[in-house]
Symmetry: C2
Subunit: 352 residues, 2 copies
DNA sequence: CTGAAAGCGCTTACAG
DNA sequence: CTGAAAGCGCTTACAG
């Protein structure tokens, strides 16, 4: 009964100590000072369990992502957590390893822990799993789940914007023959990226040749294999976009091994802008996924729901092209024999 | 008063429901079945706050690392969390961004949340910060804090083992002139690695030439700069070890740019075996830091302390060499003009 | 402006 | 083998 100690020392009731603790107005300055003094002297810290039991809120948020080992997520986690900490909220973080069953478990665990709210930042979500959160009255915010848009607050990322910028860039460099390394079409995100790419292509009046599309597993290895296929095409695309950076990195390695110069003979663009994108050589031109922003909006949405405010509408964020060294001018069919001057560009230079 | 509902439905007292919930022996099978039934029917889940308030334990562990964005940590976090979940323990995870003040805050937050135990997996730790945990009676386990070894259970990683294996490998390939890319000597881990390298060198009867040591910031950029310096040495080392993989990756890029072939003209070895190590080209030979094991031992140590068992002694783990493609035979001074046959090796092949 | 008292939902001696 | 009851440490109407 620790608040009692403080109360005794300050010569007040526990109710008053509680008021001071929670910053309620209407405590006489003298009393306030006395209570503060006692808290200080006793080095008193309130018991969060007792508080939660009483109030019904834990100031605990859940954050579920697909995969900690995927370099896409750390920034998102970091951003989410930083915001939480700034508000005195703690976050229980976990990952599903892309497994829908694990997602179900994660949600259950968090609900049983009575978190106040949950952000689900995975690519695949079964609506059935979310129902338990709804039933328990725990607000949930999602990322990029177009199918569930009306039913759960969702942060959407408009891939098309990024692909449009990427194509603008490639066309300006003289490319017209553009290939694509897709991800498994069973994955929401991979399918969304493929669709967005096709749309952007159409906008620019280009057509996608079926043989210029290869599919990989969204990991480096998949990018390698896909690139092998694309390099064997005749005619060969002069520029290739990948569904994510990891596959672009794999593609880059295969190009190296096949002695196909990037960007001299082939331009390459990734997606996400994970840290590795700027670490490879040549540094990858890529479309940056605004994941810190996604985390921030998701967090804000949860707070809004908790305050009982209605969400205005879903948030739509846009990825943008980051030009680095893996894209360059198309030098014509004879480029292989030419020793073109090496292009120098600033890393991290952004295209407007 | 939800356990009461269950009790009513099963026609028992709340005490009995609690016994069933906690798997206490000595409940009559019939009663047991009735209670289980009621729990099932009502979809009852105990309130963790009430339980914690009563019992004084939260089944919450804290995990503090230096940096989520550092590719070293995800595996460690993953391993720690998986073990926790398997025991019905939730983990609050946070990072200090290498800032001692933040570590202090992180510890305070976790203690105020009344976590049961804390694993501190950062490279820099002020003992002062740990005192608050001691005062609050929260067990703490550390990673690689040699100075605090007697006072806190610690998981140690014996860097020397890894460097010895690396040198064995290089010597077998014919190298004798070996350089080193160090980290800032203000960092515990960087200093430890440097010392271990020197020791290993001495064991092999080699001497370190001062001009063959360059210092970087433990990031890719630092590796680039350090490599530039080393490439300008005359004579030049024929093999270089880096304090971590990120710097090795930077070094690799600089070698590429300077048209120094790896491993043909220069062998390169990293440290840690982060995911990027096997993604670059050539794939990095590196010393694998056993971080999943570190996490597992740290977790086990915490559990042991919580059970009131004394720790036998500190845990010592050993890193081992993983041979990939960035190391090869020393081909003599004239190697630059030779077109030596390309070595093929399996990626991920381990040296025994 | 402040206090007395109920109650959040559990667990655990204690008694039988 | 089971129950009645106290109590973990807070917050919050309610009363004054």
């Amino acid at each position: 009964m620790d608040i009692l100690q403080v109360a005794k020392r300050a010569n007040v009731s526990t109710a008053t100590v509680s008021r001071v603790l929670n910053g309620f107005p209407g405590v006489r300055p003298k009393t306030l000072a006395r209570v503060r003094r006692a808290i200080e002297d006793l080095n008193y810290v309130p018991n969060p369990n007792a508080r939660s039991l009483r109030v019904g809120r834990t100031r605990l948020f859940g954050l579920i992502v697909s995969d900690v080992n995927n370099p896409f997520f750390p920034e998102l986690i970091d951003a989410f957590e930083s915001l939480a900490v700034a508000q005195g909220i703690e976050v229980i973080f976990t990952h599903t390893n892309y497994d829908p069953v694990r997602l179900d478990n994660c949600l259950r665990r968090m609900i049983e822990r009575s978190v106040d709210a949950i952000a689900v930042m995975t690519s695949e979500i079964e609506e059935e799993s979310l129902r338990q959160a709804a039933k328990a009255g725990v607000p949930v915010v999602l990322m990029n789940q177009h199918k569930l848009v009306g039913r759960y607050p969702t942060v959407l990322v408009e891939y098309a914007t990024g692909f449009r910028e990427a194509l603008d860039h490639l066309l300006a460099l003289g490319h017209r023959d553009i290939g694509f390394i897709a991800g498994p079409q069973s994955l929401n995100s991979a399918r969304g990226r493929m669709d967005a790419f096709k749309t952007a292509l159409k906008t620019h009046g280009l057509r996608l040749r079926a043989e210029w599309v290869a599919t990989g597993d969204m990991r480096v290895e998949g990018g390698r294999a896909a690139m092998e296929k694309l390099l064997n095409c005749r005619p060969r695309p002069t520029a290739i976009l990948a569904s994510n950076d990891l596959m672009a990195v794999g593609a880059l390695q295969t190009a190296h091994q096949a002695r196909v110069g990037v960007p001299k003979e082939l331009s390459l663009i990734g997606f996400d802008d994970v840290p590795i994108a700027s670490m490879v050589h040549p540094a990858l031109t890529t479309i940056r996924h605004p994941r810190r922003e996604v985390a921030a909006r998701a967090f804000a949405a949860l707070q809004q729901v908790l305050r009982g405010e209605a969400l205005a509408s879903n948030v739509i964020l846009h990825p943008h092209l980051v030009v680095r060294e893996s894209t360059g001018p198309f030098l014509g069919k004879k480029s292989k024999s030419l020793h073109s001057k090496r292009l120098t560009r600033n890393r991290d230079q952004k295209q407007s």
